[in-house]
Symmetry: none
Subunit: 195 residues, 4 copies
């Protein structure tokens, strides 16, 4: 189960392609093996079972997300700026890999609850970045000091996620990264009501 050997990544990449092209429920292990150019049995030398492929897929790809985003925001100053950079990067990564976008936004969500809970574990790192930004904003006075961190995180993640999902469901027919600024504005100022 060495995850450094070339076949490990080979199989994960094959899974992304197969799921994106065939859908979650039509992504049989044998198809993934074929796409990866290995025998069915070989899959089980690198992954415990099928679920393990999917979790690993999410782990590897989401890890890249987190890395990329952390990389970019550490050079920015304000919380608001960090939020913008995060949204933009998130959208850019999805836009740059159509298959990955389909897999993470649509297909993997058809998995059973158990798998989705495992996926949530992986998501936690991402959500930690969001929390950090919120806390920083509250402390610096950029954001309201009475923001509920959990709810705000749910707003930020829910909005980004829904925006990305809608974009996929519309067959990616418009530019997602170009929406980053507007989404950022929305999250900062909401509907703009003077409460």
């Amino acid at each position: 189960m060495n995850r450094n050997r070339p076949k490990y990544k080979q199989i994960i990449d094959a899974a992304v392609v197969v799921i994106a092209q065939n859908g979650y429920h039509q992504a049989q292990v044998s198809k993934i093996a074929k796409q990866a150019g290995v025998a069915d049995g070989t899959i089980y030398l690198y992954f415990k079972n099928k679920e393990d492929i999917l979790i690993s897929l999410f782990y590897e790809k989401m890890g890249y997300f987190v890395e990329q985003i952390e990389d970019e925001i550490k050079e920015t100053m304000s919380a608001a700026e960090k939020l913008l950079v995060m949204i933009r990067k998130h959208f850019q990564i999805l836009a740059s890999d159509a298959n990955l976008a389909i897999v993470t936004q649509l297909e993997l969500r058809q998995s059973n609850l158990e798998l989705r809970e495992r996926i949530n574990d992986v998501l936690r790192d991402y959500l930690k970045i969001v929390d950090t930004i919120i806390l920083e904003g509250k402390e610096s006075g950029e954001f309201l000091s009475n923001l509920d961190v959990r709810l705000t995180r749910q707003m930020i993640f829910g909005t980004i996620d829904e925006t990305a999902t809608t974009w996929i469901m519309n067959n990616q027919k418009y530019s997602l990264p170009e929406l980053a600024e507007s989404v950022h504005q929305l999250l900062l100022g909401g509907c703009g009501s003077k409460i």
Copy 2:
């Protein structure tokens, strides 16, 4: 396929219970029939196939959602108030039926894409209410006049949905309706940043 005879609703209610208790993939037709107190074959006098049960379930229950919400908001004045009433009602309905909450927020999302597209059709009525509120808010000057309706709708729906899903994933261990006001504040004013 008469949807007025008592067994029609009886079977749908049985489906909600069985799916909530066993999970989407363990909700066999025979279990639903047993729970409904009818024979397996009887299901097929009222529904074309298993998928039809699930679509009908969503259609009936979401129809109730829309009805209830429309009922309540027509007596309120401002767009902001309408938004609050909508969120509160949404959360109240989910909180009042634990099984329904699990089914609509978690289980039904494991269905295949085709079914999910049918479900999206049903959702459209709900999203229309959101759009109406946004437009009204823009026109009355309550909301920013330059709000992008689609993005704003995605923020509102994404936030509500994410909040509800998180609540379910945490086993409904806190009061969802009590969050309505805070979520409302968030959606109106965002992070509160002076942009």
Copy 3:
């Protein structure tokens, strides 16, 4: 189970139509009831079960066959002439009722062995006519005196049946009755070999 009441024949005629149009395996009792203009349950006031409909159908229709043929041949003189009249009448009846032809030549043969044995019982009257003609021909010196009756009957019936079935399988696109004379010649003289 009174077979004189109008609904008895009504149901049998409906069965012929339904089987001819939908095929044996798609001829459900409910379809036959609908075509006959009665309720499903009414079928069981006139027939013991579905098989009984099919046997009765064959019995009634084949009875008509035998009646018609006996009627015509009693006025003819020689065995050879009788054979010709029989073949011609057989082909005429099939050609005059496309549905009946399909049902007896193709569809009813898909029935299970038990039903087919019952059908063979009904066929026996028809085969008796054939036997009578053969015996008469042998006695009168028209036919070879050493003909094996059983084998000759199998040749006559097999040839007529195969000719009719081929005609149906070719969508009745040529005139079956016009073949009667040639078939008659063949049966009388075979391949014409001087043995």
Copy 4:
């Protein structure tokens, strides 16, 4: 779907046994698998579906028929002799495999029309042999020069088939091959009428 591996023939032979012993409609895939000594799923590594087993069965066995008959008649001289050899071989093969006889003469005919049309395709090779014999007989002057090839073929095939079927329906209680000569005489000379 490799038809050379031993399990391919193993499954087909199992199907013959199971169908002969249980009847067409009681020949479940699981029974065939058990008889073949393989798992249910293994069937589907060699056959597309259940229908494919039956078509393949007929194809393989009828292919053997045609091969055997062609082998024998190429050494005979006259058309009449060839006809005799063909009938005799046909009857011998059926008599030598009681199960195969039941399956091809009775059980497989209960299949639906679609399957039977596929079976007819396979039969075509057999009928071609018949046609060749008839043409040869006409040209050599052994047979009448004005024989209609199609009708004569229907007489020959219809007679052979009916004779075989009757033999099966009588539980193979007499020797079928011993009838070959009489059937041959009948086909050559018909009822023997001087027309």
